[in-house]
């Protein structure tokens, strides 16, 4: 090993360089395409040189497309899923680890089931529920015959109707149903000294106080990791937002970008799309740059 260190270094560097090139060249081409005009692109295709139309294209994004508004939607979805996920996972993990709940094991198993049965697999049913939140309740009442009873007493059977499609709630809620956060917090809680909860009780702290005074400050890193991970996945999620909203001003930016290609009449306006792509990537890129420490910790934690 020691004798070959030089050769290994060279080979490793080569592999890394190829990998970096594989990732960076498309990104560079995105940048060059975004800096030329539509006409220039039609004549020359993909080029390696950087043009002078970048700011013009960016301005066109603001004036001709819904991308800026859709970025606000994306922000709402990303922050909403990340925050909701943090709060829900933290509380559910707290209940599972620290309280003597008889069915805690079963509850945790159900929560984990969302990891092996992700949203992509539950698409059709999720869409049905989103189009009418009451539909499971309606079906249950019908199936159990309770609705006949209700019809007798109140004169009409119960039939709720509430669609959350085309709303931000509808975009966020299904993305929240994911067990990874609960798993992450549970694993973290289990690494803490097990008598901590008892010690706090002896000191006079009830469950809520323990949550805020002890558990929350200790979980800061886990919170940051989960928030970054969920923010990124919320921002880049495509399939569900594509289905859940059909109007341009409720769609997310990633969906909006893809919709720019919709006209199949001519060659799509790639410079405009690429400029949009760059604009849309700035937010997650900044996020990664600022919080990459937590991102790495989160990835390590969730793999354990």
């Amino acid at each position: 090993m020691v004798e070959n260190a030089r050769t290994i270094n060279i080979v490793a560097s080569l592999i890394l360089i190829i990998g970096i090139a594989y990732i960076l060249i498309p990104l560079y081409l995105t940048l060059t395409t975004a800096s030329h005009s539509y006409e220039f692109m039609l004549q020359n295709g993909l080029v390696w040189s950087i043009g002078d139309q970048f700011l013009v294209n960016i301005r066109r994004i603001f004036t001709e497309t819904s991308i800026p508004l859709q970025m606000l939607n994306s922000l709402a979805v990303a922050v909403g899923t990340a925050t909701g996920m943090c709060v829900l996972s933290f509380l559910s993990a707290y209940a599972i680890v620290y309280f003597n709940v008889r069915w805690a094991g079963a509850a945790f198993a159900l929560i984990l089931a969302t990891v092996i049965l992700p949203l992509d697999m539950r698409f059709v049913t999720t869409y049905q529920v989103a189009s009418n939140v009451f539909s499971p309740l309606n079906a249950l009442l019908d199936a159990t015959g309770l609705n006949d009873l209700i019809a007798k007493i109140f004169g009409a059977p119960f039939h709720g109707e509430w669609s959350i499609l085309d709303t931000r709630l509808g975009l966020i809620a299904p993305l929240l149903a994911h067990g990874m956060g609960t798993f992450l917090f549970r694993q973290f809680f289990l690494t803490l000294p097990k008598d901590l909860f008892k010690a706090a009780r002896m000191d006079g702290a009830g469950p809520v106080r323990f949550l805020f005074d002890i558990l929350l400050p200790l979980s800061r890193t886990s919170f940051a990791s989960l928030f970054v991970l969920m923010f990124l996945s919320g921002w880049t999620s495509y399939l569900w937002p594509l289905v859940a909203s059909s109007k341009a001003d409720t769609q997310t930016a990633v969906v909006g970008l893809a919709r720019l290609i919709v006209e199949d009449s001519a060659v799509p306006d790639y410079p405009l799309i690429m400029a949009g792509a760059i604009l849309v990537s700035i937010v997650p890129l900044t996020m990664i740059a600022l919080l990459q420490r937590y991102l790495v910790q989160g990835l390590i934690l969730s793999e354990k």
């Binding site: 000294p193 008598d195 901590l196 008892k198 010690a199 002896m202 000191d203 006079g204």
Partner: protein, 368 residues
């Protein structure tokens, strides 16, 4: 005593457990316990793991509910109260310090919850820190402290509220031998100074013997014996206690009485007695008298091996098919021959019932 003492005022309270029981599902940890811990005393609850001693402590603290019975601290029935209302403080086996708080905040946390002002908290913590030698470490976090210092912080956190009852759950088991000894001495001194009723759970007999005013020996949730260390050592109430206390533990031999003497299985007479029937006979290794010469009258046993421990030696010998351990002074004339002659002191023998395992006090002294 010490100039800082007046700042910690502890009104020790006695603890009475009346018909206390604890079951987990079908598992009966403590069937029925009736015991009183006296005010201001240092009581050690001793027993093998799984004997219910930690459960007992947690029920006193309020961390576990009783399945039945009453717990009275002072003159209050506390079995249905929250831990903070019981006036107990606890030191945990793994300390359970709050990792994100400084030593000061760890000690002051309970005061903060109880609504003490900042000045009061400051004053109290300083007194406790001085008492435990933690003054220089108040700004540190637990992660920056050694095991012994963490232990002291845990104790400080417990005594800062001036609890009527101090509970220790195997607090020394995470320390190395030297530190364990030092902390033991410190704990004994601390108890003398503050005088809180102390209940200390352990499975270590040395801790029990050195620290306790009174030892409660538990086995399968029931009291085997409750008494001073001296009583327990010299008058064990059962075979279980006799085997549990002492290092090496007491020898327990099967004997049967024929009306003239108690005899071993091979027919050797151990001691004159008019008793008839089968018994267990207990004799402490250090009470056995070894004869120098093999020609003198007395009991004989086959020597198996000998351990020299510095302070004394232990000889293991085969006696009527059972192992007999004998403690002799180190370097005492070692009989080189295989057969060892020795005698049992008739006033230091313990007789136990074969079926119940309970001691039969005075049985050997009544002999004519």
């Amino acid at each position: 005593m010490n100039a800082i003492d007046p700042a910690i005022h502890i009104a020790a309270a006695n603890i009475k457990l009346q018909n206390v029981s604890k079951t987990y599902g079908k598992l009966n940890i403590i069937p029925n316990l009736d015991v009183e811990f006296r005010a201001g005393e240092f009581t050690v609850v001793l027993g093998p793991s799984g004997c219910g001693k930690s459960t007992l402590m947690q029920m006193i603290a309020g961390l576990e509910r009783v399945s039945g019975g009453k717990i009275v601290i002072g003159d209050r029935e506390v079995q249905d109260l929250e831990p903070k209302e019981r006036g107990c403080a606890m030191v945990f086996q793994n300390y359970a310090l709050y990792p994100h708080m400084t030593v000061f905040d760890n000690i002051a946390y309970s005061l903060k919850i109880a609504g003490f002002t900042k000045a009061e908290r400051q004053a109290r913590v300083e007194v406790v820190a001085k008492m435990l030698g933690l003054t220089d470490y108040l700004a540190r976090k637990p992660g920056q402290l050694s095991g012994g210092q963490r232990q002291r912080v845990a104790i400080g956190r417990a005594i800062v509220r001036e609890p009527a009852v101090l509970l220790f759950d195997e607090p020394l088991s995470n320390l190395d031998a030297q530190l364990r000894h030092d902390t033991r001495v410190e704990l004994a001194e601390l108890h003398k100074r503050i005088g809180a009723t102390t209940v200390f759970v352990t499975h270590d007999q040395v801790e029990a013997m050195t620290l306790a005013d009174r030892i409660l020996i538990l086995n399968k949730g029931e009291v085997e014996q409750y008494g001073t260390p001296k009583e327990i050592y010299h008058h064990p109430a059962s075979v279980f206690v006799a085997r549990f206390i002492g290092s090496p533990p007491m020898n327990i031999l099967s004997v049967s009485g024929d009306g003239t003497a108690l005899r071993l299985a091979d027919g050797q007479a151990v001691v004159d007695s008019h008793l008839i029937g089968d018994f267990h006979l207990g004799v402490r290794p250090e009470d056995i008298v070894v004869r120098n010469s093999g020609s003198q009258p007395g009991l004989r046993a086959q020597v198996r091996y000998r351990e020299d421990l510095g302070s004394h030696s232990i000889i293991a010998a085969d006696l009527a098919g059972e192992t007999l351990r004998i403690a002799t002074p180190f370097g005492a004339d070692a009989p080189d021959f295989n057969v060892l002659a020795f005698s049992f002191p008739s006033d230091r023998l313990h007789l136990f019932d074969t079926k119940t395992g309970r001691a039969i006090p005075g049985a050997l002294k009544e002999k004519t």
